[in-house]
Amino acid sequence: MATTSVDQIHGGPGPSVPVPPRPLRRSRGRLALRNTLVGWSFILPNFLGFGLLTLIPVVTLFYLSFTSWNVFGTAQWVGLENFQRLIGDGSYHTALFNTLYYGVFHIPLTLAASLGLALLLNRKLRGVAFFRTVAFLPYITSIVAIAAVWNMLFSPEFGPINQFLTAVGVSNPPGWTTSADWSMPAIIIVSVWRDMGYYMLLFLAGLQTVPGELYEAARVDGAGAWSRFRNVTLPCLRPTTFFVTVLLTIGSFKIFDLILVMTGGGPGQSTLVLSQYIYNKGFVENQFGYSSAVAVSLFVICLSVTVFQFVWNKRRDA
């Protein structure tokens, strides 16, 4: 690496230039240092930001999870007490269950919806760019606006969704965000609607890499649309699907903003998820030690699931 740089800076191939060995070594050493510094200077701003705003807080979080701390004064080391408390904490269990409930539906539904949209909008249709933009719009719309509008749509008495359901003969339409049973499905619907445009883009990008010859060959062999999709499109999209699944999984476990503004975790604790529980314990109740322990547990869950996905994917590759 250093040699290449030196060659480039000298403006010619090294061996052809007669340079005494000692000065070359010194100058090479200096240049190597300079190059290293230049390299560092490029990544320094980003690394500083990462270090200050992510790395140090994350390391501190791990430390805090073993302490009892209410912001003021010094944190008291309590060992594994916070983690033991997690085991018997009913609200934590509820939040964990709700997070899994959300993930189990949100991940496959968003995957299916975004892939479906991508396939639909991968054709050469008139105005396809317009439809792609429309599908992407929810993703760039303010989450607060989304929550407010969907809450109105879901309004049990006057909302258009229930009015429609009543009109088509549903006698007892769901209470949606005002019902403990229906609030999570409502959140999942909005969440899938919001996210599918973004993942559609990723799938669209993936679809461009599928070689057209494969489809032609499949056609020649008499494969139908479903067979082409199953045997050509899906296998070729595997890297994209894997990438999307990993992103969706992490995103699902981290869900916070949409729920906070749509239901605030309610009614009762029906939509309380881990991220909101972390927020409540930390910023509302000032129990930063316990809150950090919940955050660490969320980190471990995310990490385990992601590692499992990587291992599984690798095995399938093999």
Partner: protein, 442 residues
Amino acid sequence: MKRMIPAFGLSAALALTLAACGGDATNETPSTDGGDTTAEEMTDEPVTLTLAGWSLNTTPEFQVLADSFSEAYPNVTVEVAEYGDGDDYDTQMIADLAAGVAPDIYVQKNLKNFFTYADGQQLLDISDVVSGLDPATGGVDFYQMDGTSYAVPYRQDSWLLYYNKDLFAEAGIDEPDGTWTWDDYVETSKALSDELDVKGSYQHSWQSVVQGFALAQSDGAALDSGDYSYLAPFYERSLDLQDAKAQESFGTVTTNSLSYQAQFGTQEAAMLPMGTWYVATLIAQQENGEAEDFEWGMAPIPQVDSSTTGTDATPVTFGDPTGLGINPAIDEDKVAAAKAFLAFAAGEGGADALAGIGITPALLSDTVVDTYFSLDGVPTDELSAFAFSTHDTRPENPVAETTAVVQNILGDAHSAIMSESDSVDDALAEASDRAANEAGIG
């Protein structure tokens, strides 16, 4: 309480308009009580104090207090430092205190976080200021821990019943007379709904609308008891009103983000239990056309039984005071001036300045009440004056380490009950279990 904050800011914003109408009332001499004691210790050297406030453009009370204090003590300049509104205020203040860069004097926005500040030794002992305050100052005791005072109240909103006189007249139903119990309130609300095209009452979605009254008015009720059965009759009445369609359902209120200002201000509901901050808002909105033009009044909030009703009794209501405390990191030579500021803000001088912009001060002396009721648009009937000035106001968030946790738990119970996702008994039993589990009480 948390959701009250935007309204609080708004009311203060609109109070600016009132200040313009109400003339000057900010030019009072400093309190003769605590003010003098601390004033004696002050030197004539110029001192600059910093005071925390939020949303200064729309919340004039901090600047008004700062200006009127500087007028009384010309050697002291009070600079107001702006913080975020809503919950951001406490988050930012906690961060600044921990970092050692917080202002000399800072506001206790409600009682919920007071324990965190006082227990974390982020408030100076100001018992000497408190001992000099007028005994009539509301909410002083709320800021005590182990007999030591850490803040003084300067503002004390409390809840009362707003009612639309025109709608009562149209329905031919007798207006509240100060003798109402909650059962009378429910009955009248239903009767109004039957007679009119609008709802009899509007209860906002906040947990305090039900729980604040229950805690204040029920014998033996305590947040740290772990027994929340005292809430049951209050919830049953609220559900009864909702089921009878005498008020909007909880679902409609939350999903449509209904605002109490619009519901009462545009005559969609004839009665509204709400805090005194709404007086300034309603007057300003009637002036600028956001609210319709109608005659309204204030009545004491209904009571559990007749023992505290009537104008010869003192109705029990609730409300957290807003207080001022001193940052212990303040320079030693500024402490006397800071204490003088606290004494002024909680005394007659501060109270009159605040009343002049439509804010309910903690000290409701006759002069202060006169100042308040001389503002244009404030109802002048006797019952309104009684409701505004006579009440036993209990804290919504009694100071304790477990208060924030319990309020969170009861917030969940509130949404579960009001959305009818859970029965009253089941939700309250679950709240008790969670209080034992999460806060170690009961």
